[in-house]
Structure formats: structure tokens, C-alpha cells
């Protein structure tokens, strides 16, 4: 999952970045509204965390412009002022949820997970597909009720594919959502992860290769 953080307090931004990376998110951080707008328009994110009190371009205006530019990823607003006026304006501008400072990082993670899931159309933290059940809160996978051990990257690939079922996801898109931007991009690595995942899920095979285009997750998972 690729997350955009727009927060002007350097220390808080650093902590958020560190924490979310630790939780398996790919994180980009912008220190002001203009930078946030640039990132938001340039890259495809799964969610954004935007502070309302931003220099250069205010948080609400940033959200408005992102939405006007047809950026549809879910947005969580952070506010220190805890005024309903701010929350309502933020939600009206196009945000999806709010969190008042100070907050617990676990709370932020939970909200982000919920937003990403919600955007994909899942209400519960557990995404079920055939015999597969992916618990996005605990980052656990069960196949026919039995736990399957996954590495962090295997989990991320599977989660992204399961959140975009039936759609062809290119290797580049997967790389974008799985790695930091300065990471060396090698699509072969993706192939390795997909190969290992298939082995672990065998005989169930929900990940189909679409030649020359990428992968598609299907619920049938026929052999």
C-alpha cells in the first residue's frame, strides 16, 4: 500500500513515516501543501494522510484540488484544532475520515487500513475470497482456516491483488505500491514473490498471469 503523508511538523512526519513503513506501507512524505499536491498528482496512492494546518497551501484547499484533479484515493485528515467547522469542511472538500491530534499510531494505522479496504469495497477487516481469508488488521492469511506464513512482501503483493480483484494489475503498478520511489525497480522480484505465493497457496490458484500485462486475482481460484 502506498501512502502519502502531508504534515509540516518534521518530527511527527518522520514518526508517521517510520511507523507506517514498519507496518508494511510504502510512504511518501510532503512537508507543505504544494509539495503534497505535486506528489498527489504525480503518483498513484492507496490513501493519504493530510494535516489541515499546512503552510503554502492549506489542507482543505489541497484536498479540494486533489479531488478536482480526479484523484480518488481515500484521505484521512489530521487536525489539532478539533473544531467541527474544520472537520466538516474537510469532509465536504472530499476527505473520508478525520483524526484529532494527539492520536495513537495504532489508531492511525487502523483507520488507514479501514479506508483502503472501504475504497476497495470491503467493510470488514477480513477479506474473504473462496477458501482464502486475509485479515488486514492482523496481517494474517488463512487458507481453509489454516494459517499460512507469509513474508512481509508476499503479504503486500497478495493484499494489493485481493483489494483489486478481477482487475489486471501490471508489474509496474505493483512495484509502485510496494516499494519506496527510490527503490531499485526490478520487476523480476515481483515474479519471484508471485511464484512463492502460488506455491504456498497450492492447490488453490487465484493469481492468474495475463500475458504481457500483469496479474489478475480471481475468486474462483480454479486449478
Amino acid at each position: 500500500m502506498r501512502i502519502l503523508i502531508v504534515e509540516d511538523e518534521a518530527e511527527l512526519a518522520r514518526q508517521l513515516q517510520e511507523n507506517l513503513r514498519g507496518a508494511g506501507f510504502v510512504v511518501d512524505a510532503a512537508a507543505d501543501g504544494e509539495e503534497g499536491l505535486y506528489y498527489g498528482n504525480e503518483y498513484d496512492y492507496d490513501a493519504a494522510v493530510i494535516d489541515l494546518g499546512l503552510p503554502k497551501l492549506g489542507g482543505i484547499e489541497l484536498i479540494r484540488r486533489l479531488r478536482e484533479g480526479d484523484r480518488r484515493f481515500p484521505i484521512l485528515i489530521l487536525t489539532a484544532r478539533d473544531h467541527w467547522q474544520d472537520k466538516v469542511e474537510g469532509l465536504e472538500a472530499g476527505a473520508d475520515d478525520y483524526l484529532t491530534k494527539p492520536f495513537r499510531l495504532e489508531e492511525l494505522q487502523a483507520r488507514l487500513n479501514a479506508l483502503v479496504r472501504r475504497a476497495a469495497g470491503y467493510a470488514s477487516p477480513v477479506i474473504a475470497s473462496g477458501p482464502l481469508a486475509l485479515d488486514t488488521a492482523r496481517k494474517e492469511l488463512r487458507l481453509n482456516q489454516e494459517a499460512v506464513e507469509l513474508t512481509a512482501y508476499e503479504y503486500r503483493v497478495l493484499e494489493y491483488l485481493m483489494l483489486n480483484p478481477g482487475r489486471v494489475v501490471s508489474k509496474t503498478e505493483l512495484t509502485d505500491h510496494l516499494y519506496e520511489q527510490d527503490f531499485e525497480r526490478d520487476s523480476n522480484v515481483i515474479e519471484v514473490f508471485v511464484g512463492r505465493l502460488r506455491k504456498k497457496l497450492d492447490p488453490f490458484n487465484p493469481i492468474r498471469t495475463v500475458r504481457g500485462q500483469g496479474y489478475r486475482f480471481t475468486a474462483e481460484g480454479g486449478v
Partner: protein, 449 residues
Amino acid sequence: MKSGIQSRLLLTTTLVLGFSLTLAGLVLERSFRMSTLSGAEEQLRLVIYSLMGAVETAGAAVQVPEPLPEPRLGQAESGLYAWISDSRNRVRWRSPSAVTGDVAAPDAQPLQPGEFRFIEASAGGDGLLHLAYAVIWEDPQATVLTFHVAADWMPFRAAIVSFRRNLFVGLGAVTLLLVLAQVVAVRWALRPLRTMAQEVREMEEGRRRALSTAYPSELRGLAQNLDRFVAHEERSRSRYRKAMEDLAHSLKTPLAVIRNALDRVPAEPRTLLEEQLDRMQSTVTHQLSRASVTGPVIVGRPIDVAAQVQRLLRALQIAYRQRCIEVEVNLPEPCHVRGDERDLMEILGNLLENAFKYTASRVRVSGEIDGRLFVRVEDDGPGIPEAVRQAVLRRGTRADEAQPGQGIGLAVVAELVGLYHGRLRIAQSDLGGACLELELPLTSVGALS
């Protein structure tokens, strides 16, 4: 309740006018009466003089030969009578007009020669004005003759009465006219004050930003000061709010940073630090949300509560989208209260969020206007047990007791509602959860009402 300037002015002028015109009336009436009397006395004196010129004495006989010097003396009951008596008070001659009548001197006291005596009718009791004059007649016996003339009082009294009536009718009309003129003058003079009151009312209702400038010089200073005061109030309110926001930002962000950094601290001091941090955090949150409330405003426009509820509900439905909460709204329209828009939004926002937070699936917002505005926010959540209801609303006094996320909003709401002279009550909803009932005064919550 103090009487108005207008009624004070009118009362004073009416009293003064009434008193002075009554006094003038009495003086005028009295002098008219006196001049009527002395005129009558003068007439009678002339009759006596003409009688004295005409009278003839022959021995004991006293005669006034025809024609009488005053024709009315010859007609019976003409209203003018004369007789002549001697020193022993015997009537020696009687005018034909007095023959049938029973006219006599009201007072038998003999007069000294050369003395006039005038007796008003009121004293005589017979409705006559009476003038007597005694002379020593130039005959050999040097008889003392007393000439009596009497005139009917009625015509004089009629004149006086009619004068008095005219006088009081005239004076009454003058009084009425002056009072009316005074009313007009007072209303005209006080019109700028009424205009000012009207404009202040419009400012309270938010339909006007400042007073107009067309005031007479006596009020211009006051109007300018009022404008300056209102502008100052608005400025300091927004400055205060800005300061509070800056304070919130500069306290809460470091708090968030510290909290996050605690994750790397070993468990032994961490628990203690977290505990203390929790206390700090809830105090800061609570006190700042209390402090950012500005309370009733002098200049505020009417705020449509129903519209604000709808706006908040739309926002909350976005944030709580995945919960699929069913919302039912039944508010009277229009329902306006006057106050600070942000304060009202805090009250309603916290109440509605509370319901969204604890509901299982349904939230109901209903209300009515009954002298005041009543808004009920109900949910089908666990509700608030009766035993803790008061504590939930009072928690503001000891902020460190507040559990984050639970009830802290309600204590602030209760305080805010109190500031607006309203009330917040917690009850049981028939949906199964809590029912929070908000009661707010409808119109003016401002200080200038």
C-alpha cells in the same frame, strides 16, 4: 422597570401645563368676578347719585317725581330697586319696581352720613346686590336719609358663569393643543434614539454591520462608540480564537510526537510516562475545547439549526460510511437560534458524533419549538446508565477524570449549552440507547436584548 424618556417628558410637561393653566384660570376668573362686582357697584352708585339729584322733600314727605331718573325703577320686578329710609330706618319712599317686591336692606345697621355700604348678594341671601348711602339732607331738620339701591345678582352671575365656562373651555383647548404639540416634539426629538434601537436590533440579528451615520450631533458620539465597541468585540473574538488555535496546534503536535516516541522506551518507565501523558493530553484537549468557546455574541445572525444538523450529518455519514448507519431527521423548519456559528456547530457536532460513535445502526434527530428550541439526538447503542448521567455532564470540573473518547465531548457540550442559557439532559431513548436532549433559547442570547 424605568419609564421611558418619552413618558417622562410628557408627564412633566402635562403636569406643569395643567398646573399653570389651572392657576391662570383661577386668577382670571377671580379678577373677572371682581371687576364685574365693582362695575355693578359703580352702576348702583350712579343710580344713587341720580336719585339724590331728583329727590324732593316736603316736610316729612320724600318724593321722587316722574319721570324717574332710571326707567327700570318704574317697572315692577325689573331687577333694579330703590328706596329711601330715614334715620329710624323707616322707609320714606319706594320705587315702583320695589313696591310689590319684598326688598329691604339686608342689614339694619344705621350708616354714618357720607358712608357707602356695598353688600354682595351672597351675604344678603336674597339674590340682590345692595348699595346704601347715607346723607344729611339739607333741610331745616337736617334729616339723615339713607338711599338704598338693589340690583338683581342673576345677570351678573350669568355673565360670570358664562365667562368661567368660556375661560375653562379655552384653557382646556390650549392645554390639549400644547400637550399634543409636546407629544409631537418629543417623538420627533426622540426619533434618532428609536432609529438607533432599531439599528442595534438589526445588528444583533446580523442584518447590519454598523450603525448608520445620519445621527444628530448629540448621539453621533454614542453611535460611533457603539460601532467601535462592536468592531472591537469581533476583532478580539477572532484574535482570541486564533490564539487558541495556535496554542492547540503548538501543544498537541508535540504531545503526539512524544506519545509516538514512547513506543521505543522500555516498559518500566513507559507505563508511568504514558499515564502522565494521558492526563496531560486529556487536560489539554478538554481545557482547549472549553477555552475556544466564545459564548453568546452581541452581533450574531440567526443560525438555522436544521441546516447545520443536515450539514453535520452529511459529513458524519462520510466518516462513518462503513457502518451503514440509518439516520432519521425530524426537525421543525425553520428553526433559528442566535449565537456564534462555530459554538453551535461544536454543540451539535459533539452530540451527533456521540450518537454515531455508540449507535448499533440507528440515529434519530428530532425536535420541536415550544417557546424554546428542543433537539433530541437518540441512538440504539448501549445508552448511558442513570447513575453516571450527572457525572458525564459535570466531568469538566476534573478534566483528568475524563476517559479519552468517552464523554469528554458531552461535558464540554453541557458547559457550552449553559453559556447559551440552555440545558442538556440525558435520558433513555425508545430506540434502546441514549437520548440527549438539547434545549436552547430561540432568539436573542446576546447581551443587548
